[in-house]
Symmetry: D2
Subunit: 349 residues, 4 copies
């Protein structure tokens, strides 16, 4: 019997970390050998997360690159922005594979990172070394590498919804407007008035308009695809729900295209990619239809009156937008079947 | 002591009707003399709405124009689309004042009505006679008239957010994109899978993209303001909450304007209008901040990178988007203080 | 024109304080002359509560008894437990009237206070001086006094549901089991994992079983009514909603009584009390039916199979369970109409 | 390679049916060969349930026992009450195995069925033949049988929480009070005002007090365990959430027992049963901690003041309360590992 790949999870007391634990339970080639938290080392993980009782019961380890190197083959770093900047180079130096979920290595330009993230950027060497793991677009680049930077939640939904049309030259690059909405889990488990139940429930709010750190990430990829600088208008909103992201995207069309044209274009682009599902004409997806799963569902509405297309793309922000895509990236790195550990049917209702 | 204006409410078992009852309880110059429902005549209203126990307890009356003329001076018709088409002419003929909340008399062009509403249009005479009651824009037209067509919920939030900038020539008329979100009460009290709790909760969905019947209503007013045909892209979404609408609006700017410029422009436009509140720079409103009240709150984010402005406008869809504005229109018709019966502080949290 | 009573609110940045502001806006005999916060003195209140924009805009004052005595006639102390213990004696000494919402003065026995609240108790003089303001039961005691201790949210719903039956000798005092459920606003505006949206939403949890500090408050009153020591079983749960409390109460019946008997008994007991509504047979109230209002609604189910009665009592925890009852107490203290400032129809839906 | 057991699901357009589909996707020994709906035969299942796109795409079949016998080895009947009464005998006659989720065969006494369900009872032969599939209590009876009646959702949570204590003689059989709360999915996918989003959201309501059809089911089992007639007080409430049941149960203790005693008793009783998790002292479970999984989590609070124990038991009503336990029963019938197809970690948050 083949031995399993040993995985460590840094940030196991955050929502991304705990979702990695959930999903990896069903991965046939991976075993979790360390769950790590800088703040709660020594505490049994099921104390903070009783839902894991009887499933995974172990004490949280502290953050120590050497110990990780002894216990694990791969590390998922689901850490707050800024922490991975320092930790990942140590992990790579210790010979570990890394899938980083923090966002620290997504931008290739350190100056841009510092402008949007307000932290010092990682060393340029690592920014360049990191493979941006948007699986359905750059999946081939992941094979065999040891360091993946996992895309952000908003960028994943947004980019998968825009890239085929942009690449095909069907939409005007300077016309793109992205109206994004997220469930509250995207803000993490930290406490603040922003995530206080009584402030969120029965409320809908916009935040960080044109200021969200996912903007340069989206623009970097769209620019790469278009071959010329793309600038977007991007708004984020908080929805009174826990999981799910919807990106509603607007663009002026180049040429005349029907919904059916878009559907055909996208289905061709994503052929062989099990986790993008393109809806039939007249139908756009809702967030609950992907909840708990690694799917990104996409639908279209074209409008001859205005010459614009509206593209709706949904994901579960913690799965396809974080832990699920991280595992998908692991599978691609290792040359495994892309779907290992990800065979979850959406939980509905 | 002055006698009160006698009001009848048709559609008292819908959310718009029952909200009229709530608000009119505190109106010093109005008394409710008949609550009317075609489906539940003879039933005590507190049976279907126990929250009214001890507040208003009377049997629902049937729909009969002559009886209304005997019992009431004004009728609020909070009926499904298509019903008012036939009923309102009878009420007017009987000498009643009417504020119609159904949407049947908002469009001036009967052909356009039939295209979007899929019903036969009202007689053109009534389409022309109806005064479109967007209070902060057309309030002067309401004085002394006997028939107001109350604006739709989405149009109210959207138009109040766009008109000052459009009138000032600050935004490109052909660039307007409206991404609107509504709580579920906007769909009414009728039962369907669309409003089933388990289908809505922890879900976010788009619907009727570019097909909503509020599109021609918005375009009719914007065209009036701009003096030339305006066509918009308009998407509606269902938010897992009961009350509240947010319109997030995007437009290319003509000239360079900062957030502060927009704030000054809008505060000047809405000076003396107590129910529009323009937020300070850097702040956009959330729906809960107007919940239960007649306010429309507006905020701005300008973006020098893209040359666009993002305008956020929120209302309580049942108050400012229906019953509250209807009462505001009544006040304007009667020449009363605009705020009578509407002095509700938002319910927060 | 009569001058208004000047009111100060300590704890204006908490949910109880901000609700006092909402309700007092419509009180014809009270004006708010100071909003006070120990943590945010100098900050305009509408910064933290934008829903108050244009309604009440003033800087928060610091906590200073002398200043309050100059500016106000009455102080509502909506402070965390322990703060009022020290503040209220100063306010009374300065000649102010006080309605205390903190809970510090509800128990007559300081030792019991310290056992359940884990703080030092207030001086016994003040414990004895405080009038426990359960309006529909002890309302007569409020007339003319200068110091009311406002009941807790759970005790209000629970006691109003139990007292008539207990006083009538219809239920066994040692058989009372109270299964209580509250919306999250009851936990206040402070941030913690307990009130984190993602932890509460789509979740239902029990907490502080048999350990809640409202237990001795409930038992003190029931003991007073029964004339002999009453001990209850009391469980509290958090419901994924913002407002509302339901107490589902169980007791063995003494003698045989039908639902109709209970209804008659309670309607007689609460005759002339506008804020208790007793439902008809076969119907129990839901929390939304009192939301935003000062009502306590009560319903019954008797069970001949088990000889038990189930009593369901609901309130809005921030209104009847806090700010609303505080204003009702003010009205009783002043000899005003009990309903002044409280004429709010429940907000439904 | 071993061929798989072929399964048909009647009621595939209800929440129980669609959850069977989700769970069976991961069952290594079962394949779904027919999804059946009386109302939607001929319609592709993914039309009504787009979350199944790309996972299971087949037309819904009509209800025909002979066709089922050709296509399947086992039928899950997730039908409304009354339908299985007629259908199940046909399926058994055709040689099919049946797990019935409808409730029609849970009561052994047809007269009692008719009293509580208000339908004609199934033939007594089938009432007696049905094995009541409460896995952790009666699991041994399931081995090798061809007809299981799957327990109700409330009874599952309630009985697993009460049986060890009742069997041990630690609680008074005539003192049991059950305060149960359920998410809205328990009411099914049918539309009604009761499950209308705007009526449920931000609301908490009790229903069917002492009248729920799960009462005789609970009493039948408790009577079996106690060896003497047990009668309970039982209240059900609707929680504004989709999934989850909590039973908060109260009973007078016989003898003195601590929380630790109860924990030890229950852990011993459920030893070797992977889907019951007994919490540590001082901790009671919340519904989200089992969401999406087959677990039943149980916690205790004993109270020396009143001599009562409070037992809290939670399940996911659609998994352990319906589809999950049905699959667990299948596993027990077939002599398979109890956990096949049920290895889902709870989805948190």
């Amino acid at each position: 019997m083949e031995s399993k790949l040993r995985a460590a999870i840094v940030g196991s007391t955050g929502y991304g970390g705990v979702e990695l634990i959930r999903l990896l339970q069903s991965h046939p080639k991976v075993e979790i050998t360390s769950v790590i938290s800088s703040s709660s080392a020594g505490v049994p993980i099921e104390e903070g997360f009783p839902h894991l009782t009887g499933i995974i019961e172990r004490e949280l380890d502290g953050v120590d690159a050497q110990e990780m190197a002894e216990r694990a083959d791969i590390v998922f770093t689901a850490t707050p922005s800024g922490v991975s900047t320092k930790l990942v180079p140590q992990l790579l130096a210790a010979g570990l594979k890394v899938v980083d979920l923090s966002g620290d290595f997504r931008l290739k330009d350190g100056a841009e990172y510092e402008q949007w993230y307000k932290h010092p950027a990682p060393a340029d060497e690592y920014l360049q070394r990191a493979v941006y793991g948007l699986c359905e677009v750059y999946g081939e680049r992941a094979a065999g590498v040891d360091f993946i930077s996992n895309p952000g939640c908003y960028p994943t939904a947004t980019l998968l919804g825009l890239i085929p049309a942009l690449e095909a030259g069907w939409i005007k690059p300077d016309s793109i407007i992205i109206d994004a909405k997220s469930g509250v889990s995207g803000a993490g488990r930290g406490t603040s008035l922003m995530v206080h139940y009584s402030e969120i429930n029965e409320n809908f709010k916009a935040y960080k308009i044109n200021k969200h750190q996912h903007i340069p990430e989206i623009e970097q990829v769209l620019t790469d695809i278009a071959g010329a600088k793309v600038t977007v208008t991007f708004t984020t909103h908080l929805v009174p729900m826990t999981r799910g992201i919807m990106s509603t995207m607007y663009a002026g069309m180049l040429g005349q295209h029907t919904e059916e044209d878009f559907i055909e274009l996208y289905r061709k682009y994503y052929a062989g990619r099990p986790y993008v599902r393109v809806r039939n004409a007249g139908i756009v997806p809702a967030t609950k239809e992907v909840s708990g799963s690694n799917y990104c569902d996409i639908g279209f509405a074209t409008d001859a009156r205005t010459g614009r297309v509206t593209i709706v793309s949904v994901i579960d922000n913690i799965v396809k937008g974080a832990a699920g895509q991280a595992i998908q990236n692991l599978n691609l790195m290792m040359g495994w079947e892309e779907t290992l550990g990800l065979g979850y049917t959406p939980v509905y209702p």
